[in-house]
């Protein structure tokens, strides 16, 4: 298994390099003068020229690419033009917040999605099944920011049960930390939970139709055992796949949710970068997001070897 992990980590590298290259190419297509845009409207010509030098904007694309990769190898994601603040420290401050949010959201997704999906699969064709499937469809159609706003209005503005915004670090009080994260995490998790519920229902239904499930019952195993041990392990592969895919969705949704709930996380940072046309930060955001998604895929693939013995060979 370690060999697999190492191998996959190696294949991540060309993909990440590819992403860096593509962002460099896109940047070279940027309309207008990047240095001027990044410097802002009040900048002096000297400041603009400094930015041009710092970011090697006069050099050809492949040289820029080289510089970037070289910086990366030395552990740097670049510095903010102008202020010189290392981008990595900005990200370092913001990332834990988003990780907390994403973590709680994934837990909600998993619990809600698995429970609903299993219920639908066990009561296939009956009311519970149709209710779950229909609800999941509708929920997935509601844009995440609408969900967030509705929750804020209902539960934080009209009735101040929950805080409408703000983040509290874990060390300042675990319960308050969690309490501030509930609404945003629920917002993030609903669409993903709906998707997970549908996939779980499908996978578990298909599994329970298999011959070995019937053979299991014929051996005298209790139904709970049949579904919980045999059904679950065999249905797990597509379910875990979908769960892994939600990481990307949750990262994207974090941008919206952090705006609505005033959380100074990675998503808010990304939005800020886009609003100020901060190329250096944008590149770093893209890279980190890609790493996150690829790591999630890696975890999913590793889990396959445990879940599906045929993969091990």
């Amino acid at each position: 298994m370690l060999k697999l992990a190492a191998g996959r980590l190696l294949t991540m590298i060309p993909i990440l390099l590819g992403i860096i290259l593509i962002t460099q190419l896109l940047l070279s297509l940027m309309p207008g003068d990047p240095a001027k845009i990044m410097a802002g409207q009040l900048a002096t010509p000297e400041a603009i020229e400094q930015i041009r030098i710092d970011l090697h904007l006069n050099k050809p694309v492949w040289e820029q690419f080289g510089y970037y990769v070289d910086d990366l190898a030395h552990g740097s994601l670049g510095d903010e033009p102008g202020s010189g603040t290392p981008v990595s420290s900005e990200i370092g401050a913001a990332l834990p917040i988003t990780l907390s949010l994403a973590g709680v959201a994934m837990v909600f997704t998993a619990v809600l999605g698995l429970v609903a999906g299993t219920l639908a699969a066990l009561r296939r064709g009956r009311f519970a099944d149709r209710a779950v499937t229909a609800t999941a469809s509708v929920v997935q159609a509601i844009p995440p920011f609408v969900v967030g706003l509705v929750l804020v209005i209902l539960l934080a503005v009209n009735r101040p049960w929950f805080p409408a915004s703000g983040y509290v670090t874990f060390s300042d009080g675990p319960w308050t930390w969690f309490w501030h994260l509930i609404l945003p995490a629920v917002t993030l998790s609903l669409a993903s939970a709906a998707e997970l519920a549908r996939q779980t229902r499908g996978a578990l239904s298909d599994t329970l139709d298999q011959d070995f499930i019937r053979a299991c019952r014929a051996k005298g195993q209790r139904e709970l055992w049949v579904v919980g041990k045999h059904g679950a392990k065999n249905a797990a592969t597509p379910v875990v796949t979908v769960l892994g895919l939600q990481v990307g969705r949750i990262l994207g949704g974090a941008v919206l949710v952090e705006l609505i709930f005033g959380l100074p996380g990675f998503g808010a940072l990304a939005l800020n970068a886009v609003q100020t046309r901060d190329i250096v930060l944008i590149q770093a955001v893209v890279l980190i997001s890609a790493v996150a998604v690829l790591l999630a895929n890696l975890l999913v693939d590793i889990s396959y070897t445990y879940l599906n013995p045929r993969v091990r060979a």
């Binding site: 993909i15 590819g18 992403i19 593509i22 962002t23 896109l26 940047l27 297509l29 940027m30 309309p31 207008g32 469809s137 509708v138 997935q140 159609a141 509601i142 844009p143 995440p144 920011f145 609408v146 706003l149 509705v150 804020v152 209005i153 503005v157 009209n158 990307g248 969705r249 990262l251 994207g252 949704g253 941008v255 919206l256 705006l259 609505i260 990304a270 939005l271 970068a273 886009v274 609003q275 046309r277 901060d278 190329i279 944008i282 955001v285 893209v286 997001s289 890609a290 998604v293 690829l294 895929n297």
Partner: protein, 288 residues
């Protein structure tokens, strides 16, 4: 010239099966109405959507303003109608770009195979490795805000999906006898792709287009909500939700109309996509 075997062509039989689903019919009617509203919007709007009336802010529904007025006294109904046109036009732009980018390249990759296919697939994989909204944000960050730029971004983000479907469809149709026959008559590759491979993969491609339209609507709404899409004073549904958010303590009523419209539109597309996929259904599913 139809092919047997695994060609999944959009035929009248499929359309008939589709029309048996009540959900599909409802979606089609809804979307048709939407298109009608968008087309007729100048006529339908009771007020100028950009006209501000600062004495009349945050009104609830009234005879003058059927859906009330927003934070600058603008008529919500007119803005909603304008938003319909904006959303549909934006969707058209984005999908057009996606299809133009993704399908030809996908068809080529699937049909030709080999190294070209590997390279193109890797590139598509790289794009698909990124969370869609982040990628869209990055492109907007580079190109600058504005609805057209936002739709270019969305178009680029969705192109890999069309690439995949087109590639899979071309790959499965590639070895059909009628394609070989066409090749034997000396047809050029482009001609083969567009006159034979494409029509016979039209089924799954259309399904993908329908789902993608739903994704575009969500993406446009999200980007506008973030202030990166349609610029004021142009109304867009996402922008109206943003307005509601910024004035959340003054009036929560503003949220309802645009949210409902966005949700219903997305629901219509996904329902239609599901029904279309089922109608094509019993044949092998190609692509995503």
């Amino acid at each position: 010239m139809t092919g047997a075997g695994r060609a999944i062509r959009l035929q009248s039989r499929t359309l008939r099966r589709l029309l048996r689903s009540r959900a599909a019919i409802a979606s089609i009617i809804f979307l048709a109405l939407l298109i009608a509203v968008a087309a007729l919007s100048p006529v339908l709007m009771p007020h100028d959507p950009a006209r501000q009336d600062l004495l009349d802010r945050f009104q609830g529904p009234s005879w003058q303003h059927w859906l009330g007025s927003d934070s600058l006294g603008r008529d919500n109904l007119s803005r909603l109608i304008q938003g319909t046109r904006v959303t549909l036009w934006a969707a058209f732009e984005a999908i057009g770009l996606s299809i133009a980018l993704g399908i030809p390249v996908g068809l080529l990759a699937g049909y030709v195979g080999g190294v070209l296919d590997s390279v193109l697939s890797r590139i598509a994989d790289v794009f698909l490795a990124l969370p869609p909204l982040i990628l869209a944000l990055a492109i907007v960050g580079i190109s600058g805000p504005g609805l057209t730029n936002a739709m270019i971004a969305v178009g680029i983000v969705l192109a890999p999906r069309f690439f995949r479907v087109a590639r899979a469809a071309a790959g499965s149709v590639r070895n059909e006898t009628y394609i070989e026959a066409t090749r034997a008559t000396g047809c050029s590759t482009t001609r083969i792709l567009f006159r034979h491979v494409l029509p016979n993969s039209s089924g799954p491609l259309l399904v993908q287009v329908t789902f993608a339209l739903g994704l575009v609507v969500i993406a446009e709404a999200s980007l506008s909500f973030l202030g990166l899409g349609a610029a004021p004073p142009t109304a867009s549904w996402g922008g109206m939700v943003q307005d509601a958010f910024e004035n959340i303590y003054s009036s929560s009523f503003q949220l309802i109309a645009p949210s409902v419209m966005i949700t219903l539109t997305i629901l219509a597309f996904s329902t239609l996509g599901d029904a279309l996929r089922d109608a094509l259904g019993r044949q092998s599913r190609v692509g995503d």
